[in-house]
Amino acid sequence: MLIYLQMAGSDEDKRKFEQLYQKYRWLMFSVANQILENTQDAEDAVHQAFLYIAENLHKVQDISGSKTRAYLVIITEHKAIDIMRTNAAATATESIDTLQGVEVHPPPGSGLAEAMARIPAQYREVLLLRFAYGYSTKEIGKLFGASPQNVQRMIWRAKAALQARLEEDEAT
């Protein structure tokens, strides 16, 4: 017995994807290149990011809005770090869990946001996707290749990293 399933990408999705590509590819490349410092790897990261975006176009509402711009940066950063993790595994070098992502500067005096900007990238991404974008643990898990239970643990680790960052900031 065969089951037939149809999934058709709409013209609206196609237009949305095209606009995102035309508008943000250099920004995304720049973010990836900042992390990977290699143009070919950076292009791979941008490609991976667009693959992800193409499958999650429903997350994008206003093409030109700051929320969308930030979203593309976050996804690109994540994919760039994925590639760095793969490269690091191949060369058996440093741990990636402590890796800092793209440099970002929230307004001075914004407290928790400033601390959040300086925790390891994967924790920062988890918190942003969870709280700024309303991602479920399942959705985050799909991006990170982790179970919802593991994502929940990542959220707790992210909160602990945030706590440590705040304490360190106060001490200095």
Binding site: W26, Q34, E55, S66, V104, A132, L166
Partner: protein
Amino acid sequence: MTDKSAENSNMKFSFDDKDLWQAALVLQEAFAEIQPTPVDLEHKFSERFSEKINAIAGRQKKLFTARRVMKNIAAAILAVLIGGGLWLGTDAQAQAEFKAWLRTEYEDSILYEFFGKREGDRISGVDVGWLPEGYAETKKLIRERFGYYLFTNGSGEDIFFYYTYMDSDTALGILSDRSPYEKIRVNRAPADFYMGMDEGEGNVLCWFDEEKGIAFELNAALEKQELVKIAESVAVRFG
């Protein structure tokens, strides 16, 4: 930030989900202010990159037809019919020059896409010269650019066989969570073998007759050697 929960009572700084939400929104705005560097703005994307982006863009307008073969073949296969040409006018020249096939890994599928127009005789059918004992043809569908056969044995186990023209109007897909694959040969044709990762999931063998412009796929709970033996016995009829 104040002490807002018993959970946080041992922590020097306490914050709850509302604080995190507010901080995340502030940080989101900061992310939105990131600008590409002037050097990166001058970056000329490679042809390889453009091809891969074209493939994604093309995927946005495709009609996917997925077939899930029941019982022992839990792995599903996608047959893809593309509604038209690919997108991105700026890369049209690169697209026109790219006469090949491209394998792309997506989150939950592998997609083989073909570029250029197949030239050659029309396929009228396919003969499978060898099958494991007990299997017989139970279903068949032949269309102008693709076709499939289903072979079933007395235990209800299936062998699914699919072929398609390799040109811009078609593609071949496998639903898979990026399981590792092995590059092998079927006769002299390049082939990829995918081992089913879950219990009950079939193994998949894809091979590509570049000379005749035909892609083939077998999906069954059979060993690699058996799939290769079936594949090597396939003869295409034209006319």
